[in-house]
């Protein structure tokens, strides 16, 4: 009864003082907050080390949640004095929830963060500079972790990519090209090569045309050669870009960009080898690929567990290269673990982040469950490549990480309204209302205005 009263009183006080407590306080473990209850609980036992509770928030599908629940169990076995309270939020609500918690001073000790949110948080001092903890641990061997991943979590007080580490990579997300081997066999066309530069957009298109078929003769296409060819990759391969982050200039109004966008749009509009936006709306392309009705389709490592269950053979190929530059590109995403700068237990929080990001056992477990390419280079190059599971050419993932992966467009942009507007209005090009060149010319000044407004 007394404890209850005390808790009520404390809660009321917290409410009155404007919710200035932090996460440690709210889960009832800060010494100042509950000495009363603690004495009452612990008089009989003599606990050896102080029990520490950490809050950890992430997002993802049920599969990811399951994997992290298991990883956290392993962590708790390794550090018996730490208890982790894990929350998994639906991805669409994640940023909203995290920002609200942060504004209320209750951000979790460890949480996922990347791209625009990471930039904002680093700038505002919401997340902890973990360099000093990294220097002390033997878990972190800089040569053995993908530089392309860790560099995203560096911040030098002004810009990203340089300076101290403010986060550790949860994963690297190479956006690769998967293909349905059975459809290739049926159409009697050779598989796409796994080495970059051997296949151009023209080869891709010709193959896709051969794969596209109306199997039951009703005049509607049943099998499409490809779907979801990513615009970003096409633009970068063609030598263009969305924005120059060093000068803050929107660069969509260039022939490189327009040609790439037209190529992607024409796949559906002119050549009909990809589902039209209407077809995609009806049955989403992922479901279509899974059902064996799409020849070539982009995937990330996190798709592996689902794709292992596919009833047909599949493998990875390199993205085709632009015929004008001979280069190829795709995006390499990443999520990071960050630690709240207000955490009461930064060392323990760091231990958790480091375990999830760098620990051999943790990485191995994560890899075996198929969620990600290991962050540890030696593990990726040995165990991962030879784990005997599909896809056969896993090297493509590593090639993307090492050679032609590109951070996603929003990386480096604190505010993404300009990009949302771009994506929304781009339907004019995807549906053929306007040509890419005309639309880009029209939209570029608007994007520039939005970019300046949100990122200055």
């Amino acid at each position: 009864m007394k404890v209850k009263h005390f808790a009520l009183g404390a809660a009321f006080l917290v409410a009155l003082t404007g919710c200035s407590s932090n996460s440690a306080g709210s889960n009832g473990n800060s010494p100042a907050n509950n000495t009363g209850t603690k004495n009452a609980d612990n008089t009989a036992s003599n606990a050896p080390a102080e029990k520490v509770e950490l809050s950890f928030m992430g997002h993802g599908d049920p599969n990811e949640k399951k994997i992290f629940t298991e990883l956290i169990q392993s962590f708790e076995t390794k550090y018996p004095n730490i208890k982790v309270n894990y929350t998994s939020v639906p991805p669409a609500e994640y940023d909203q929830k995290l920002t609200t918690l942060t504004a209320a001073g209750k951000s979790p000790d460890v949480f996922y963060v990347s791209g625009p949110a990471f930039y904002r948080y680093a700038e505002s001092g919401t997340i902890l500079n973990i360099q000093q903890y990294l220097n002390k641990t033997d878990l972190f061997k800089p040569d053995n972790v993908w530089k392309q991943a860790t560099d995203r979590y560096r911040y030098d007080g002004k810009s990203l990519g340089k300076g101290d580490l403010y986060g550790l990579p949860k994963d690297v997300g190479p956006w690769a090209l998967a293909y349905n081997k059975d459809l290739f066999d049926k159409a009697n066309v050779p598989y796409p090569p796994s080495e970059a530069g051997k296949w151009t957009w023209d080869d891709f298109l010709n193959t896709a045309k051969k794969l596209t078929q109306d199997t039951n003769g009703d005049g509607k296409t049943d099998i499409y050669g490809a779907a979801n060819f990513p615009l970003e990759g096409a633009v970068w391969a063609n030598g263009g870009d969305y924005v120059d982050y060093s000068t803050g200039k929107i660069k969509v109004d260039t022939p490189e960009f327009a040609n790439a966008m037209q190529f992607v749009a024409d796949l559906g509009l002119k050549h009909h080898v990809t589902p039209s936006p209407e077809d995609a709306k009806a049955m989403n392309n992922y479901a279509r690929f899974v059902a064996g009705k799409i020849g070539m389709f982009p995937m990330g490592p996190w798709d592996q567990p689902a794709f292992w269950k596919l009833p047909y053979g599949w493998d990875l190929a390199a993205w085709p290269s632009s015929p004008t530059t001979g280069k190829t590109a795709t995006w390499l995403g990443s999520m990071g673990f960050a630690i709240s700068s207000k955490s009461k237990h930064p060392q323990e929080a760091f231990n958790l982040a480091a375990f999830l990001s760098l620990d051999k056992d943790g990485q191995k477990q994560n890899m075996e469950m198929g969620q990600a390419v290991p962050n540890l280079i030696d593990m990726a190059k040995n165990d991962f490549l030879q784990n005997g599971k599909a896809p056969e050419h896993k090297q493509v993932f590593l090639d993307i990480i090492e050679n032609y992966g590109h951070p996603t467009v929003e990386f480096g942009s604190k505010d993404t309204q300009w990009l949302d507007t771009f994506n929304q209005d781009a339907s004019k090009v995807w549906t053929g209302k306007e040509t890419a060149a005309a639309w880009l010319k029209e939209i570029a000044p608007k994007l520039q205005e939005l970019y300046d407004k949100g990122n200055k």
């Binding site: 609200t100 709306k281 949302d420 929304q424």
Partner: protein, 293 residues
């Protein structure tokens, strides 16, 4: 005696205090806060920066705000449509037929269903490829149905269609109450004078329901301007070319996707003022056509 009264007064204040405190904490305080915030730039992580009238000036120039307003005004179409259908239904449901209460219940069910559930249901119904609506159009009329939620021209009609389905039941009940309060003596007198059914409807029923029309219009306008959930669920990116986004949806995007609380607050105040003005106009106009006996 005195102490008894004092105790009673104490209780009275206690009960009054709860809603008053609730209003102060969750009504007035946020209202004042948003008013102040609308003059700042605040991303919820760093502290707010005072920017003067910048947010309001930007609102004037923001193409998405214009689109949101246009879409919202467009959606107002559903009010007269809904009124017509609900009145028709109410008159049907006013018949003295066996089992009529079952039909009243059926038409009222959508009203009490949560918007999110209804939206999810209609997402399936309106699906371009395998939705019930297009299936029906094809099977019965051999019409190739539109891509309801994927085509910028069809998104708003889709939302209106769904709004009608969900909204007519509530208005039907209001009209039903209104119909039952009209004294039968009016109709009898009209019959003596030789009025036909149509004349009775237009000269007696419609005008005598005027205070209900008024209520339905005012609430409908406010409701339309506050529409959010169905857009958020059915077309979470605001639809192709932002064709489905309402003002509140735009506010939500600024507040919880771009974390620009100041701008969102300014837009919310703009919306509040618009609703206030529209409601005031309606009250003014109502003096000309709405009767109050």
């Amino acid at each position: 005696m005195i102490s008894y009264r004092r105790k009673e007064i104490g209780w009275a204040y206690g009960f009054v205090a709860i809603p008053v405190l609730g209003f102060l904490l969750f009504g007035l305080l946020p209202l004042i806060a948003s008013g102040i915030l609308s003059f700042t730039k605040w991303d919820m992580v760093t502290s707010p920066k005072f920017v003067g009238f910048t947010n309001y000036v930007n609102l004037w120039k923001d193409e998405k705000v214009h689109k949101g307003l246009f879409n919202t005004f467009f959606m107002l179409i559903h009010i007269p449509l809904g009124m017509f259908i609900s009145l028709l239904l109410a008159m049907l449901m006013n018949q003295k037929v066996r089992g009529v209460s079952i039909f009243r219940t059926i038409f009222y069910i959508p009203v009490i269903s949560p918007v999110v559930a209804v939206s999810l249901l209609w997402m399936w119904m309106l699906n371009y490829d395998f939705g019930l609506v297009n299936q029906f159009l094809w099977d019965w009329f051999h019409i190739k149905g539109p891509n309801w939620l994927g085509d910028p021209h069809w998104v708003k009609p889709s939302l209106i269609l769904m709004g009608l389905w969900g909204g007519v039941g509530g208005n039907m009940v209001l009209y039903l109450a209104g119909l039952q309060s009209i004294s039968s003596t009016y109709y009898e007198a009209a019959e003596v004078d030789g009025a036909n059914a149509f004349q009775k409807f237009t000269r007696i029923t419609v005008p005598l329901l005027s205070n209900i029309h008024f209520f339905v219009v005012v609430m409908g306008v406010i409701g339309t301007f506050q529409a959010f959930s169905q857009v958020y669920v059915m077309v979470p990116d605001g639809g192709p070319e932002y064709s489905a986004a309402t003002v509140v949806f735009n506010i939500f995007q600024h507040a919880f996707e771009y974390f620009d609380m100041g701008y969102a607050s300014a837009e919310a105040w703009m919306l509040g003022v618009i609703i206030l003005i529209l409601t005031m106009i309606q009250f003014r106009l109502s003096k000309r056509w709405a009767y109050n006996d």
